[in-house]
């Protein structure tokens, strides 16, 4: 019984959660990691996309700038051509030329166009002068008053121009160094693109030749803002910064579109930096998007991935968990069923094995007792009777143990029948009579006038009552009194068994109905019985939806009161369950 008990306990402690949840947890972890990787990748992708667009903008802007400068170089080449013919040209010729160029319409970025004449003075190079001899602007009418200004006055400018002369290429200069514009335009930053002009038509080959043949410089000026604004497509979505040089340095900032356009950065920003060479200088552009330049779908994609992925993981995990749980449950219940079957077989076998020899003894002692081997003396009869009783007790114990084990296994079902309770009690008493008479105990039975019928399982009720009456006798002195009464009201039948026995101490009453409780019997000086008798009684009464109560006083006696309902409400077969 103990082994069987332990198995039941083991069942409750089964680690359901770990076994059923573990696969799901593992899958969830793996999928989550994958999702995170994928999500990060798609975030990265959004970032790259954005950056690519911004880069392209930067690249395009620089290409435009380069193209524009090349256009201006073309103008200067044309201008050079003009002065190649003759360094001194007439005003009229100049006007014609400028007019033909139609700067305002065709090259709106060009602010002014002009020529610087370089004259040798006194054969001494250091005293060279470079004078603005021609300058025209569609935007400044009296710009011509600038003529006569010696650009070589500033040594930096002179150096740059001489370098351009030596390399036969255009150069870009900042106009701050020129006191070129007197008007309001002079407060605005501007550039000059300057190209050396040589007296000979063909390209002078060596530096010496170039120095010799320099007649002057052709130049165009353009205002930063106008230039850059017209080159850079003016959009709200981007911010452009242009720096002189190959690196980004704050004091080399030439143009910042946020000066003219108010910028509110909204959302994720990508920045692209590119450098290009323009004439003989490097120009660096920094482009940043000021707000979202990607389609909403593209931006939302990482979040969508995360949401969709999470939902997917949730459902897959849930599904796997349920699947595993179902499978584990069915496996386990299959296991349980096998264990239960093994238990049942063991029980059945054990009870069979225990009963068989005892049955044999019962037959042979019975035969002896009944005179099959000849007449039996009183003494002999007594001895045989003791043996017979001992054997009967053994059989009873086996029955009780078997019953308790079946209870634990949930294998006991009651068969209800309308039984005559009164006559059943009478029957039991008649059976117990011989033993009771022997102990010189008095057994009194009180019944109602008419027989009381109840709906119950006859076999089990008999077992219960036998047990109690037997107990009463066992725990009562010789010549003691046992009173059994059977009565009923509308709902219940009541059986009370009262004895004048040794009683039970208050502290022990609590244990009385428990399984395997053994309270020493003062009378016999020993603990007898299987210890399950009253537990059994309790279980049987409870299964019938009845109640059992117990009262006792030491050395006065004990009273059992059993109430059984007259009718049973549940279905005919009721299963007893394990609850303690």
């Amino acid at each position: 019984m103990f082994y069987i008990e332990k198995l039941s306990e083991g069942r409750k402690k089964y680690p359901w959660f770990i076994n059923t949840a573990l696969p799901a947890i593992i899958v969830m972890l793996v999928l989550s990691i994958t999702l995170i990787v994928y999500w990060r990748a798609s975030l990265q992708q959004v970032e790259s996309q954005r950056h690519e667009i911004v880069s392209r903008r930067a690249h395009n802007a620089l290409s435009s700038i380069q193209a524009r400068i090349i256009t201006y170089e073309d103008i200067l080449l044309t201008t050079r051509g003009l002065f190649n013919e003759n360094a001194q040209i007439t005003d009229r010729r100049w006007q014609q030329f400028v007019h033909a160029l139609d700067l305002e319409e065709r090259h709106p970025g060009v602010y002014s166009l002009g020529f610087i004449e370089v004259a040798e003075s006194g054969g001494d190079n250091t005293a060279e002068k470079a004078t603005i001899t021609r300058v025209t602007s569609p935007y400044e009418k009296n710009i011509a008053s600038e003529t006569g200004y010696d650009v070589y006055a500033d040594p930096e400018v002179k150096r740059s121009l001489e370098r351009a002369r030596d390399n036969a290429r255009a150069t870009i200069l900042r106009a701050e160094n020129f006191e070129l514009h007197n008007s309001s335009a002079s407060s605005r930053k501007s550039f000059l693109l300057v190209m050396p002009v040589y007296s000979s038509n063909h390209d002078a080959g060596t530096i010496e030749e170039r120095r010799q043949e320099l007649s002057g410089y052709a130049f165009v000026s353009f205002l930063n803002d106008d230039f850059f604004t017209s080159v850079v497509s003016n959009e709200d979505s981007y911010n452009y910064q242009l720096y002189s040089g190959a690196i980004v340095e704050e004091n080399e900032l030439l143009y910042d579109s946020s000066d003219t356009n108010e910028v509110n950065y909204d959302g994720a920003v990508s920045t692209s930096t590119e450098t290009v060479s323009v004439a003989d200088k490097a120009l660096t552009i920094v482009v940043a998007n000021t707000r979202s330049i990607l389609s909403p779908e593209a931006v939302a994609r990482p979040t969508a991935v995360l949401v969709a992925g999470s939902s997917f993981i949730f459902f897959v995990t849930g599904f796997i968990y349920l699947l595993t749980r179902t499978r584990t449950r069915s496996l386990w219940s299959h296991e349980e069923a096998k264990v239960q079957q093994a238990k049942d077989e063991l029980l059945a076998l054990a009870s069979h094995q225990l009963r068989t020899p005892a049955t044999g003894v019962k037959q042979y002692l019975g035969m002896l007792r009944e005179g099959y081997a000849g007449p039996v003396s009183q003494k002999q009869a007594k001895l045989i009777e003791s043996a017979y009783e001992g054997n009967e007790r053994q059989l009873t114990i086996v029955n009780e143990l078997l019953f308790v084990a079946r209870l634990d296994a949930g294998k006991v079902t009651l068969d209800y029948d309308k039984i005559n309770l009164t006559s059943l009690v009478k029957e039991i008493i008649d059976e117990q009579k011989p033993k009771i008479d022997e102990l010189k105990q008095k057994l009194e039975l009180r019944v109602a006038d008419s027989d009381i019928y109840i709906e119950a399982d006859k076999g089990y009720v008999r077992m219960a009552l036998e047990n109690i009456i037997n107990n009463a006798s066992k725990y009562t002195h010789e010549k003691g009194k046992i009173r059994v009464s059977v009565s009923a009201n509308d709902e219940n039948a009541r059986i009370t068994i009262q004895d004048t026995g040794v009683g039970v101490e208050e502290k022990d009453i609590h244990h009385l109905f428990k399984k395997f409780s053994r309270i020493p019997n003062e009378l016999t000086g020993q603990v007898s019985g299987s210890g399950v008798g009253l537990y059994l009684v309790r279980k049987i009464i409870e299964a019938h939806s009845g109640t059992i109560s117990f009262m006792s006083k030491i050395n006065v006696g004990s009273t059992f009161a059993i109430d059984l309902p007259i009718t049973q409400t549940a279905s005919a077969d009721k299963a007893l369950n394990i609850s303690q």
Binding site: H352, R355, T356, T359, G360, K362, Q363, M367
Partner: protein, 121 residues
Amino acid sequence: MKKILIVEDEKTLNEAYQMILERHGYEVYTAYDGQEAVEITKKIEPDLILLDLRMPRMGGLDFLKQYDLTSSHPDVKVVVFSNMDTKEDIDESYKLGAEKYVLKAWASPKELVKLVEDVLA
């Protein structure tokens, strides 16, 4: 004289029942398992069979199946006499036409005789 067939594998019990029933005037046949019971019932038709269930070679229920009580031998009364009282055995026994299912351990010689008398009445 009524014929009783005792089918029981335990020798001591078998002999005890034989002794008891012969003393009360019954013609007793004995078998130690289902197989023997089959052979005996080929030769004689008992009025009552006291049938144990758990036996070697052929058990009580298998014997009943083969014997075909309800159709082939409707006048024969079978009392299943076993020390196992599992629900399955009880149900199966009644299904195969047994008159009663009795726990061996319950019957003293006197009670056995009374049982037989009641069934054959």
